[in-house]
Symmetry: C2
Subunit: 657 residues, 2 copies
């Protein structure tokens, strides 16, 4: 009936065994540790001046009976704190930090006190609507918050070995398992915001208690069944909605509840919800060998990556519902592309890779990571983008044309609904989880990030040292230090952006052909000796990239990419009216390292043409073609670094002729 | 102090003295008479099956005590009925129609009964909130509805000589004049939706009662003064709003109340509101010689026509607030371009022309009329566009991307908020008002529409017969029949779209130079003899038109125009994926008359290139340029005729290379 088979996927590699030492990423991880996490702790405690209070810690203190007061914030405020605690756990797993651990232990004490006798844990309902538990799954994120707390509990246990929060979330999950189900008196439902599905799988992984895996699968299986749970729930509440102005009917597609999950073929609805769901689906599929669930994951992956993803790895083409729109609809200016959605895409990709390495998943993971996710955070670690547009004209924003009301032209401090910053923090703090997977006798390298990893592969144990100047340079070097055994394979991803790669082992070229390359990975199987060196050379030319002809927004336009980095034009380098620039098809692209610019980047320059507005003799419309152009040297910077020099125009796609 | 000077502007020419006999327009005017007006009468009486009821007539019957029941519809529902009655008046002014007049008389009887003893007339407040009169000018359109009823009263009096409705509206206006003003106990306010300003001027023109002109000016002068009336009103109501979800603050710019009207320089806010206001401003400026008011009209005209108008004469770049956005912001797909706003633009242009003929006003009037306004109505007279996009992809509509939720891909039947259809009806029924103005010794011809006009010019009286096959052919012939006197000038507009014009009088060429051409009109002064023939030949080649380089949406694109008609590509003629079409700079444009197509149109064909989607080998993104194109013969049709062959893609602007 219910079979589990953990061998279907790669084990997680603990973070203290994948140490990152990388010129590019160490800076960001340092930021998370030294700036983001401390700053967020202040924010969660309402100690940031001139910022909207969070209330998150205080809500738990109130629910714990340690303080008097009212609940403050969004109905899902608890999740901010859980995500923070999860990020802290990853930092602690990588490096001891007694001071931070003490703060976390204190917070966990409060959380444990806020848990109700029956296991329930949610400060909104405990403090504000104690008699309304589980009456509005559609809108109130109850299981979503539970899921984040479970993730935190698992992460903290893995990091410290301390069971306190793990016990809390197990008790909570056990209680949830009694509430939901198809037995009489149980709720046959699921959450309005997917998240608990993937969290329960993590809980299963650390506890080995199949009850959690089964509950995760139950939530997935129930979604989209008829009669619809959300509509029934709405009826039961007498049509009462949590959000003012919410409609009288549930938008099922928004919650991906329009069809059973196995029957969904096109990405639709709220992007983060879908990607968290798919992450859980891939998890359950891997652990139960559920082929139809896996087939749905593959179909939806192909739809997202093949028809609904921005070149930056952003997803979600419209602000209404923070949602997917439809195939090939990728407007650059009114885009949503929430940072959290790209993080969700990375989660999903990682689960697919743990199941079976195919480079297409890692290619997208890299694309999302190096462009949208890094771009979501300023280099000061204190300012964030929710929405990551590919084209911005500040004049059109700030209410000038209301279709841009969701677009911020510069990164903002902590938001009222603060999902993205702690999500970036927990992803970057756990970045070591995304670099390698081990499958059978093979170590797969998905991301080229410098550092040391101690891995168990088949009967061998190996320390692998990766050094690279990625993403600026395409030479990646691995030094192999076998510790035990030594016969195993190294498989290195050949990125989709790379036109030419070469591989050598101890100075000898390994031909990249059908014998060595499979599913986008170059694989070298041998008995490794201490100090063996593997060098992968990835040609990294500045490259023009075009969109599928059905992408209306990019017709006649080109984008530049170099390595995994997508480039953009900014007003700071190129003046205003970027729409008037035309890149000739024949223009040479020259890349140049600029150490002083934006923390050190490679820029790309090209000789192009600029519409000369001053030479226009007509009025608003004229039969005279605007023939006058002036030569212009365009300077492209990596997309992730945009909007770090004040407000200005930006565009990824530029006209080509 | 308050001086009036009617000589500052051209008198209105009654519609029974400008008879239209024109292959193009007679069809539409016949539609208004035979289909639109009868159909709307059924709609106003809730007798159209499967359509949302209007309630408009019933509301008046209830307010008149002739029927029991509740008010139904929008707070401004009365205005639908008034606009219908105004259209009927114009039809009656042009041609006797006893049956229609009887219906109108009956309706006027009901309206008169619905008037309250003190003169107040508004069914919403009378029936539903009798104690709330004048408490929410901002939102409740009370003076707006009054304005439309005044326009109807004036029009019906002019058409029939019957005073009943005129007396009703005079009594109402007298009462309004006691309510509003700066004396103690009066309201120093103005309406949230401008309209009464221009209506009071009409009332002044037929009654010669300066009180109405003064009140109009008062409303204009009060708008935008501090302390703000709308905010004060909101405070007085305790923050209560009429529309659910309305904010706690008034968006003053939406109502053009952010600045005194004389200080406004940029078109902003709700487009129809602004254009009705400007029409009233031009009226008052003309009749009082108010130079600062006139200067504001000119500035705002130049801003609209020079920086914020679509090539189709549409205005209003965004659906939020049905509003102007900012200079050069003219997105083709998310545009609003409400039919009513283009009608407002025509009103404003007409007032500027009556004040002082300059062809730039008539050029815009013609552009709006031949493109957006005619396009707003289907050839069956029963389906209408509110919103007139310049680029439509049906796949993106119907909720697929919510930024297009306001876009209809085909014309709709009568709307819940039914402003546009009766507005089209009243404009077309009064089209004769827009063709000529007489200024001093000169008859100015602004529009080339066939028919006969009997005009008083200086000391002369003349019958002028205009014949043309406009807008398909550029030859316009005038035959002059002097009835009395005979020495006067004919001035003919030289349209902005025309690259070459020639003029002859009785077979003799008149050179078009500085002596004959002024402000865009070719003027011929002479003593006219019976049967004198004037021929104007306007070269009407199919022409490429370009946008100002600051218009981001049209960068690299071209539109076609021939005569006053803007053209578009439809999927019906050109297949799907119009964004993949490229018109070479060198492609010849060949125009062809097609009598069987869309009621008879001139189409334009050109050899172009089509992106070959089938030849695309890449995925969503690829370093391979989409080089494969196939030859494609493009067929352009007049924009006004789009969406008459089912749902499909459409675009006005096409890529050029």
């Amino acid at each position: 009936m219910f079979q589990t088979d953990k061998t279907m996927r790669s084990d997680r590699v603990p973070l203290n065994r994948v140490r990152i030492r990388d010129d590019f990423w160490s800076y960001y991880i340092g930021l998370v540790r030294d700036v983001v996490v401390p700053y967020q702790w202040e924010a969660l405690n309402d100690r940031v001046e001139n910022a909207e209070p969070s209330g998150a810690v205080r809500n738990f203190r109130i629910a714990a009976g340690l303080e008097q007061g009212d609940f403050y914030g969004m109905v899902f405020q608890d999740s901010d704190l859980a995500k923070w605690l999860e990020a802290v756990s990853y930092l602690l797993e990588a490096d001891a930090n007694p001071e931070l651990e003490e703060i976390a232990d204190g917070l966990i004490g409060i959380i444990a006190k806020a848990q109700q006798d029956d296991g329930y844990l949610n400060t909104y309902f405990t403090v504000k609507e104690p008699d309304k538990r589980w009456t509005n799954l559609t809108e109130c994120h109850e299981l979503y918050c539970a899921g984040h707390m479970i993730e935190a509990g698992v992460a903290y246990y893995r990091a410290t070995g301390k069971r306190k929060l793990l016990d809390v979330v197990c008790k909570f999950a056990d209680y949830i398992d009694t509430v939901f189900g198809s037995e009489p008196g149980q709720l046959p439902g699921y959450d309005g915001h997917q998240e608990i599905e993937l969290a329960l799988v993590k809980l299963y992984e650390v506890t080995d208690n199949e009850r959690y895996l089964r509950l995760s699968k139950y939530f997935l299986d129930q979604r989209g069944q008829k009669p619809d749970f959300f509509e029934a729930e709405l009826q039961k509440r007498g049509g009462k909605t949590h959000w003012p102005g919410a409609g009288k009917h549930v938008d099922l597609a928004y919650h991906q509840a329009h069809l059973p999950v196995r029957e969904q073929e096109t990405a639709i609805g709220h992007a983060v919800r879908l990607l968290y769901m798919l992450t859980g689906m891939a998890d359950v599929a891997a652990l139960t060998g559920d082929e139809s669930l896996l087939a749905a994951c593959r179909k939806l992956w192909d739809n997202i990556a093949g028809k609904q993803m921005y070149i930056t790895g952003g997803v979600g083409s419209m602000p209404q519902g923070e949602a997917f729109s439809f195939d090939y609809d990728l407007p650059n200016d009114t885009v949503y592309a929430e940072t959290c959605a790209s993080i969700g895409l990375i989660f999903f990709a990682q689960r697919m890779l743990r199941l079976a390495p195919e480079s297409k998943y890692a290619d997208v993971m890299e694309r999302a990571l190096y462009n949208t996710v890094v771009g979501g955070m300023a280099r000061d670690g204190k300012h964030f983008f929710y929405v990551n547009p590919l084209e911005v004209n500040p004049r059109a924003c700030h209410g000038a044309n209301h279709k841009y009301d969701h677009i911020k032209t510069v990164r903002q401090e902590w938001f009222g609904c603060a999902c993205c910053p702690p999500n970036v923090a927990r992803l970057l703090a756990s970045l070591g989880e995304y670099i390698y997977t081990v499958q059978g006798d093979t170590v797969y390298t998905h991301l080229y990030i410098g550092g040391e990893a101690e891995l168990q592969v088949g009967g061998s144990r190996v320390k692998l040292v990766q050094t690279a100047d990625y993403p600026w340079d395409g030479l990646v070097r691995f030094t192999v230090h076998p510790q035990e055994g030594g016969e195993f394979a190294l498989a290195l991803r050949l990125p989709d952006w790379c036109p030419e790669a070469s591989l050598s082992v101890c100075g000898e070229t390994v031909p990249l052909d059908g014998r060595t390359v499979k599913d986008g990975y170059a694989r070298v199987l041998r008995r490794w000796q201490e100090g063996d060196v593997v060098e992968l050379r990835l040609a990294m030319p500045a490259t023009r990239v075009y969109s599928h002809p059905l992408v209306r927004a990019n017709a006649g336009k080109v984008a530049l990419q170099r390595g995994p980095l997508v480039y953009c034009l900014e007003q700071a380098d190129n003046g205003a009216n970027l729409h008037g620039l035309v890149l000739p098809k024949t223009a040479e692209l020259s890349a140049r390292r600029e150490e002083e610019l934006l923390g050190g980047v490679v820029t790309i320059e090209a000789e192009a043409e600029r519409q000369d507005e001053g030479a226009w003799a007509g009025g608003l419309y004229s039969p005279q073609a605007p023939s006058a152009t002036r030569p212009a040297t365009l300077k492209f910077i990596p997309y992730y670094a945009w909007a770090n020099r004040g407000e200005g125009e930006m565009t990824v796609w530029v006209r080509e002729q």
